[in-house]
Structures are given as structure tokens and as C-alpha cells.
Amino acid sequence: MGRKINKEAVIQFFILISMACLLIYVMLSRKVNYYVHPRFYIGLWISIVILILFAISLISKIKKARHNVNSRHYLIFIIPLMAALIFPPAGVSGKDMNMAESSLSASTSEKQADENIDPESSTETATEESVVREDASKKYEQYEVAGVIVIGDDIFSDWFFDVYDHIDNFVGKKYQYLAQVYSMKDFKADQFLAGRHFMVCCAADLAGYGMVCESDIRSKLTDDEWITVTGTITAYQYNGYAVPMLTDVTITEAETPEVEYIYFNNY
């Protein structure tokens, strides 16, 4: 003796449970770092709870027998579920070079635009102006270790854009940070870009940002290799604009960090 059940409820139940399981797995394994900005974590945990509650509410409906269920349109859910299972998250590698390249010129041309529009005003917001006027590099001095200021991932984005915006304050100071090696078409043979990928919201907006480095061992470095770079900042003329460059560079190999991206902490 058998009993007919509600096939639709069963399908929905499995979709919800597998979505929740995948999300839990992604969250716990920290793979979520590759997909979205940490500010989504709370939202994703809440989503997991809701998905599971949805699934629980379906259990009582499974018994309500259904005939002629239109289950075909649930097929579409196979795509993300299969995709998540088959393809592990990866750096959006196809974009790397372009992004790194454009980011450099982006920052430079922005600077140019600022100067054109309003040469008087500081390039920072009004609220931060008083701090900025003093010396933009001062707030990073507390991270100094044995004569080198170590820039961790949490302050990297602030520091990076401060350097671009106020090169004068930073020239001559020695910094160390974890970076990836990016190539640029119009660089000299001993130059490369030491930078990181920045995430604003999700993997769709990953963009590489970096600083020009000059080093004798350039030829030994491979693209996307992880390094710890230490160097002194100087101003460098690139396409007619002053951009920061690291000179007197020491490079040590580094392991791929657990969290590969820098997350903007803008709001």
C-alpha cells in the first residue's frame, strides 16, 4: 500500500534545504569571502534561517496529495545549485589585468579632474579636511614596526587612497604590505604593480588596485604571485601625472592569505 504525496512541496523542500546547506557551507568554510562583502554576512545568516523556516513549513504540506504538478519551472534552480557544486569559487581571473590597469589610470585621471574643477579645495571630504590638512600619513604611524610601517588588510584601502591623494605627505616613508604581482603593458622591464583586488559589494565589482614598484628581481616574479613588499614611497611621473611609486624595494615570498581580497569599508 502506498500513498500519493505533494510532489511540488517535496521539490520546494529540497531546493530550500540545498540552498540553505550550500549557504551554510559557504559561510562556515569562509568561501563566502570570494563572493560577497562581509557586510552581507548577517543578511546571509538571516536568509539561511528563513530558508530553513520555509522548508519546515513545507513538511506539513508534503502530505497533502497533489496530482498533475507543474514541476518543470523548478528546473532552473538546478543551474545555481549545480554551478556551486561543480565550480569552486575562484578569483575572477579573466578580469585581473584589465582591472589593475584601469585602476591606475582611473586614480590618475580622477586627480586630474579634481585639479581642473577646483584646484583650491582638498581632495578629501569636508568632514575629514581638518585631519587631512595636518598630514595624511600621520594616522598610519602607529603601525610602525622597527622603522617600517606595516599596512594590514584592514587599513589597506584607506591608506592606498590616502597615498594617491596626498603623495607629498607620504614621500620618503617606508611601508610594508602584502600584495600580488600585476603586469602592465606600458611598464619598463623592471617595473610591476604591487596591489590587491578590492571588493565593493560582490565578485561582480572586483577591481585591482596597486602601486608601481621597481625591482631588480622583477623577471623572477610571476603574475598574481603573492609577495610581501617593503619600499619607500617616491613620486613618479606616469603619463604626465604624479603617482606614488615604491623604490628601494625588498620582496619576500608570501603565502596566499586566507582572505584574498580587500573589502571597502565605506558604509
Binding site: M1, I5, R72, L75, P80, S102, V200, A207, Y267
Partner: protein, 521 residues
């Protein structure tokens, strides 16, 4: 060999008995040795004993739905062991009660046919939707009787009513005493209900193509697909919390008829309501993909179209999160945030007013078959009453909404993920000083890049090497309005033609607004 169970359901006097008699009299029925006729109807029945005797039909009459218990089919099996069972079911009883009964393994429910008089159907559906909906939803055949006086236009509407309850149902208009054809197709001894094979085919196709991709050793192709998948999943993941939130708000709007003052104002349809509609987005600070279910919820609630569209277009410009994002993305130009708000509001209000002036009404642009759909099975069968029941309904409604919206989000995210992997390279070719060309490229990017309204300010900023401020602003403002993913999601409720019209309207308005801006800035 399976023993088929066919169910003929419908209200009294709908023609069930006539139809069953024809089935029993048909040549197809001659293949059966022993038939059980289960009659679930109070009072008399007019099957003549002679026919039943001749065809070796044993009839069982159930007068009460409490007689539907797990013993029923067991007894039929042991007492009669028939090779065919046909049920005349009571249209007022719960159909899932019959379907959920324990049956011997070889018993298969095959056809469920809902029979109705064509003339009274729509009226009945409106008055007794909660009673009829489950019967029709579970049917694979709806048969309309006595349809001669019904105009062809109404016949089409009937078909659409049925399709919207379950698109897999076959609708048949039955000329009297002409049921041979259906019986031949659907009620013969070896007949089946099919359809599983197509699902399998699609599944095998998907699995096979994935397998082929995996065994391809072409690294470039693999890594391109991998990064596309990463982008695809990341768009889905960041959208999930917003979709859920939107689904709950949307279900809330549908259940608690008019939530609050703002919705009332929008619903009023007066001229000042455009301003309120434009400002309302400030109080619903969620991302644009969460907005789509709210829009469909409003339209299903018959909120006037022009105001709803104003609300939709302006919502992503006035959201406090978006304003904050603008200030952070362009710290050196805070006035851009103000311009974005104003531009969004102006485009929204002007768009709404134009819609009002050309007198577009909801029923012109809504896909009609979507109107019943909010009365899903989940909302109809509630355990609780009162406030508790309403909360349950919101929860159930949100689930329905979630599944419905997710389908479109998946398609939209997939398209934009694929385009994003292709687009950045192509985009670079457009570097140039031509502002009109830049504007066109930005429109294209706004449509295809599917960036969240809360983050597209930052993406716009990353264009600033190749584009000047005004086209970037155009990209940021139009992004959520023209976003392909949102359009696909909206096409679930709005007609495609209207969406194309709306997109053109937005583009023309933006051209004027940003043209003026380019002149002044």
C-alpha cells in the same frame, strides 16, 4: 500492470454523470473486465442498473467525506480486485483527501477531469475560488460543457483562467455527446499521463554539457566559465537577503490591504501623490532587486500604474543607503549625490505623469493571467485565523513570492554574469571624447551590468578613467531603472511591450536631463 484510477470532479449538474456514462459505454471501456465506479455524491444517482450490469461495473456510493479513509481502496482491492476504477467526485469535498488515501501499489491516479458548465464557470470561480482552486489545480483535464452560447473571446478567457491555475492543464470544450475523442485519447486501457520524459531530457542535457565543459582541457574556457560562475553566484548571494526582505514586504502588502498612510496616498492617484510616491522609496531602503516584488505586490493590489512607476523609478535614487554610497564613492564631489537624487526623482515623476497623461491603466499593461496567481494554494489553506492567520499568510505568501522571483533573478543574474565577463574588454574600445557615444555606452552598461543600486556608485567611479562625469552619472541613475535583470523580473507581471516602452521613456527622459546637465556642468 497498473490499475488506473480516473477521477471526474465538478459541481452538481455539471455533467459528470453523463460523461462517466459515456466512458463506460465507450469501446475503450470494453478492454476492462471489472470496473469499480466510486460515487461520492449525496442523494440519488441516475446510473441505470442495466448498464452497470452489462459492463460488469460495481458501484460504491460514499455519502459523506468521512467515508474517505485508508480502508477504502484496500476493501475495493480485496472485494472486487478491479482493473479500472472511475470516481465521480464531489466538487465540494477536499480533493487532496482522496488523492492522499493509501492505495495498493499498482493503483495509479491517471486522469483528473474537472467538468464545468462553460456559462457559469467564471462566476463560480470568482465566488468559490478557494473551493474550486484545488480541484482545478490537481486536474490535468478541464472539460467545459454546454459552451455553444459562449463567445469565442470568453472561451479564450476561460482557457487563460485555467492556464493560470496550472499551465499543464488541457482545456476542452465538449460538444454534447461527442466525448469519444477525449475518451479515445485519455481513457483507454493503456493510456498514460506522460510528461516526465521531457524533464529528464532537460536534466540530461544540462548535466551532459557541464560534463563536457569539465573534461575540456582548454584552460582559458574553463577559467572564463569559472569566473562567470563566481560572478553569477555572487550576484545571487548578495541578492538573496534583499529578495527575501522584498518578498515579505510584498506579501505583507498583499495581505494587509493598505499598509499605512504612504500606500494610501500612492493609491489615491491624485497629482500630489506623485511627490509622495517619489519620496516613498526613502522609507524602504532596500536594493532595487528587492523592490521588484514590492512593485508587483502593489500592482496586484490595483495601485494606480503611473504612481507605482514613479515610485519604482525614484525609489533607488532616494534610498538613504544609495545617497550614502554616492557620498562615499565621490567624496570630492558631494554635489553628485544631490544631482543623483534630483535626477532620479525628476525622471520618476515625469515618467509617471506621462503615463497618466496617455491614460495607461493597470489592465492595459498587466499580464492578465497573473491576477489570480496571488491566491496560491498556500495562502488558501491556513491553519490559523485572525492575526496569527495573517502572519501565517504573509509567511506562506513570502515563500510563494520567493520562488516566483528567484526564477527571474537566476535568469537575470546568469545573463549579466556572462555579459560582465565579456563586457570589460569590449568596453575599453570605446575610449573617446565623444560624449554622445559615451552616453550610449553608459545606457548599454546600465542595462547589462546589473549592478545593485547600493553599489553602482562605486562601479560608476571605476569608469572615470574613460568617461566624464555626466555619462557616469547617467549610468548610476539609469542603472536600476533599465537593469536587464530587473526588467526580466518585472516581465513576470508586466507586459513586455510596456517594459520596452518604459525603457525607451526612461532613456529619452535621461537624454534630456543629462543633456541639460552636460550643458551646465
Amino acid at each position: 500492470m497498473a490499475t488506473y484510477v480516473d477521477i471526474i470532479t465538478g459541481f452538481l449538474e455539471s455533467g459528470k454523470t453523463t460523461f462517466i456514462k459515456e466512458v463506460l459505454n465507450s469501446r475503450e471501456a470494453e478492454a476492462f473486465n471489472k470496473i469499480v465506479l466510486l460515487i461520492c455524491e449525496e442523494g440519488f444517482t441516475d446510473y441505470d442498473e442495466e448498464l452497470l450490469e452489462k459492463k460488469n461495473v460495481k458501484s460504491i456510493i460514499l455519502e459523506n467525506d468521512s467515508d474517505l479513509n485508508d480502508e477504502l481502496f484496500k476493501q475495493i482491492f480485496t472485494k472486487f480486485n478491479p482493473d479500472y476504477i472511475i470516481v465521480e467526485y464531489n466538487g465540494t469535498w477536499d480533493i487532496s483527501k482522496l488523492l492522499g488515501l493509501k492505495t495498493p501499489f499498482e493503483y495509479k491516479f491517471r486522469n483528473i477531469a474537472f467538468i464545468s458548465e462553460a456559462g457559469t464557470f467564471r462566476n463560480q470561480l470568482n465566488n468559490m475560488i478557494s473551493l474550486m482552486h484545488p480541484h482545478i489545480q490537481n486536474s490535468n483535464l478541464v472539460i467545459f460543457n454546454r459552451y455553444k452560447k459562449i463567445k469565442p473571446a470568453i472561451q479564450k478567457k476561460l482557457i487563460r483562467d485555467i492556464k493560470n491555475i496550472n499551465p499543464r492543464i488541457q482545456t476542452i470544450f465538449l460538444k454534447e455527446f461527442e466525448s469519444d475523442k477525449i475518451i479515445k485519447e485519455r481513457f483507454w486501457a493503456g493510456g498514460k499521463q506522460g510528461n516526465i520524459f521531457l524533464n529528464l531530457k532537460v536534466f540530461i542535457f544540462v548535466a551532459l554539457s557541464l560534463f563536457l565543459i569539465l573534461i575540456t582541457n582548454d584552460f582559458d574556457v574553463y577559467s572564463a566559465i569559472q569566473s562567470t560562475v563566481t560572478v553569477f553566484l555572487s550576484i545571487l548571494m548578495q541578492a538573496t537577503p534583499f529578495i527575501l526582505l522584498g518578498a515579505f514586504i510584498s506579501a505583507g502588502i498583499q495581505i494587509f490591504a493598505s499598509t499605512g498612510w504612504i500606500m494610501n496616498q500612492i493609491a489615491k492617484g491624485s497629482w500630489s501623490s506623485f511627490l509622495i510616491a517619489a519620496a516613498a522609496g526613502f522609507f524602504l531602503p532596500i536594493c532595487d532587486c528587492g523592490m521588484v516584488p514590492i512593485i508587483s505586490g502593489l500592482l496586484k493590489k490595483d495601485t494606480p500604474l503611473p504612481q507605482t512607476i514613479t515610485f519604482w523609478l525614484a525609489s533607488s535614487a532616494v534610498s538613504p543607503i544609495v545617497i550614502l554610497a554616492m557620498l562615499y564613492a565621490f567624496p570630492e564631489k558631494p554635489y553628485l549625490a544631490a544631482i543623483r537624487v534630483v535626477a532620479g526623482v525628476v525622471i520618476g515623476i515625469v515618467g509617471g505623469i506621462i503615463l497618466k497623461l496617455i491614460q495607461l491603466e493597470n489592465h492595459d499593461v498587466l499580464k492578465e493571467h497573473r491576477q489570480f496567481q496571488n491566491i496560491g494554494n498556500d495562502i488558501l489553506t491556513l491553519k490559523y485565523e485572525g492575526t496569527k492567520g495573517k502572519i501565517e499568510a504573509v509567511f506562506a505568501g513570502a515563500k510563494v513570492e520567493f520562488f516566483r522571483v528567484s526564477e527571474y533573478v537566476i535568469i537575470g543574474a546568469l545573463i549579466s554574469a556572462i555579459l560582465q565577463t565579456i563586457l570589460p574588454q569590449t568596453m575599453k574600445n570605446f575610449i573617446g571624447g565623444n560624449i554622445i557615444l559615451q552616453f550610449l555606452v553608459m545606457i548599454l552598461a546600465a542595462m547589462l551590468m546589473s549592478t545593485c543600486s547600493t553599489s553602482n556608485a562605486f562601479i560608476g567611479r571605476s569608469f572615470s578613467n574613460n568617461f566624464s562625469a555626466v555619462p557616469i552619472l547617467a549610468f548610476i541613475v539609469m542603472g536600476p531603472m533599465l537593469d536587464l535583470k530587473n526588467m526580466v523580473m518585472l516581465s513576470e507581471i508586466l507586459k513586455e511591450g510596456f517594459l520596452i516602452f518604459l525603457a525607451c521613456l526612461v532613456i529619452i527622459e535621461s537624454a534630456i536631463v543629462f543633456g541639460a546637465l552636460a550643458f551646465f556642468l
